[in-house]
């Protein structure tokens, strides 16, 4: 494989384990490669280690064993601030700053990076447009927005300084089904345009199938398998098969239990 090719690896886990203490191991010897421009979905139930995996990438957590490489460099070698500013971060609770307007929320990293005010304002307008928000929203405070609007602001904020990578931790998990479907659709078209390298965490197979280039199935801190969405539905692994069966049941309530 040629360096700089379409398949080059941007994020790599090499035998990564993460232990909370001597008795609780959250992640077991994870090996995983995320390629440039793909959306890798980490699928699994709560407690399977999805969020931990994500936080190991932007060094909110540090591996107990093994190493995580981002753009070829170990996260421990990176200056954590530089590393995190190259990686946008969207979480389910959104974490918008309640004391800041939408404009200041979105413009925070550019401001921290020292962008001049005019360029910042320009960028905020551009981003709000990108995520489908009216320019007038810029002056609002987070508590004046709906759940869907807040999540859009969260995405805009993560994209603000133009990071090549995005980490998304159940970004649409707290939304009502209609808003969620709408945002998932928009996320797809956004990703087609932006081609960021994305690691996306969810427990919802439907969402995974919709947005993923590849799906990594996690269970009890171990990577069970890596599949394309098509492969996933035919995967022989019993856990993947269970997911697929539950999914089909939900899609086709009449063909209950068939695989």
């Amino acid at each position: 494989m040629l360096a700089g090719g379409a398949n080059d690896v941007v994020i790599e886990f090499r035998g990564v384990s993460y232990q909370l203490d001597s008795r609780q191991t959250i992640l077991h010897r994870l090996n995983l490669e995320v390629r440039r421009g793909e959306t890798l979905v980490l699928l699994g139930r709560s407690g399977s280690g999805k969020t931990t995996t994500l936080k190991l990438i932007n060094r909110l957590l540090v591996p107990t064993e093994g190493e995580v490489l981002v753009e070829g460099r170990g996260t421990l070698v990176w200056d954590p601030i530089r590393l995190r500013r190259r990686i946008g971060y969207v979480i389910q609770e959104i974490g918008l700053f309640p004391h800041c307007t939408v404009e200041r929320n979105v413009g925070l990293v550019p401001a921290a990076e020292g962008w001049p005010a005019e360029k910042r304002r320009e960028r905020v307008r551009e981003l709000l447009d990108l995520v489908g928000l009216e320019p007038a929203m810029a002056a609002r405070y987070p508590h004046e927005l709906s759940g869907g609007q807040r999540q859009r602001v969260g995405v805009a904020r993560a994209l603000a300084a133009g990071p090549p990578m995005l980490l998304m931790d159940e970004p649409f998990g707290a939304l009502d089904p209609l808003t969620r479907a709408e945002l998932q659709r928009e996320f797809q078209s956004l990703q087609r345009r932006l081609r960021k390298t994305i690691v996306f965490v969810t427990h919802d197979l439907r969402e995974a199938l919709l947005v993923a280039t590849r799906i990594g199935l996690l269970e009890a801190g171990r990577l069970v398998g890596l599949y394309t969405p098509e492969e996933f539905l035919r995967a022989p692994d019993p856990l993947a098969a269970d997911y697929a069966a539950a999914f089909r049941t939900a899609e086709n309530p009449t063909e209950r239990g068939e695989r």
């Binding site: 909110l60 590393l83 979480i91 974490g95 700053f97 309640p98 921290a112 508590h143 980490l167």
Partner: protein, 211 residues
Amino acid sequence: MSLLEFFLRNREGVLELTLEHLWLVGVSILLAVAIGLPLGILLTRWPRARRPVLGGANIMQTIPSLALFAFLLPLPWLGERADRIAITALTLYALLPIIRNTYAGITGVDPAVVEAGRGMGLTDRQLLFKVELPLALGVIIAGIRVAAVTSVGVATIAAAIGAGGLGEYIFRGLAMVSNQLILAGAIPAALLALLADGTLGLIERRLRPAQ
């Protein structure tokens, strides 16, 4: 002589003692904020210091004010002037609510918001000044408010060691068994306390982030 007459006749005296009182309280609160705020922040960064620091500030509160004045009296530089003793004692009393509320305010900030900030690549300093402190400010001001109101009351006792303030009237009134003189000190002191409470309460409400 009615109380009103007393105030009219002693306008200058009342004003002077009120200003003295305000000076004692104002300086000690400023000092307590200057010491307590950084200490409170430090505790959030260094949890191991929490018990000794909060414990120490707690013990300070349990010492009766007259006893604390007496303890400070023999100290070299401090003990030389009554207002130094009074300000030191008032500062020590004001520390606990300020440290405690700074700590509680910062640790009470929604962890998701802090995590988002950290994940976005804010430095510790940016996280503190742009996220944690602004969001904790309402709680911190509430602590300063408690400290200020308490200080107005405790400062009346400073007159016992000759530090001045409205306690002068109260102690004189006690000695002369004159309710009028006691009230001449107590009423302006109560008004000062209400003023401090009201002003800081207003600031506090302004600063509480809307949810």
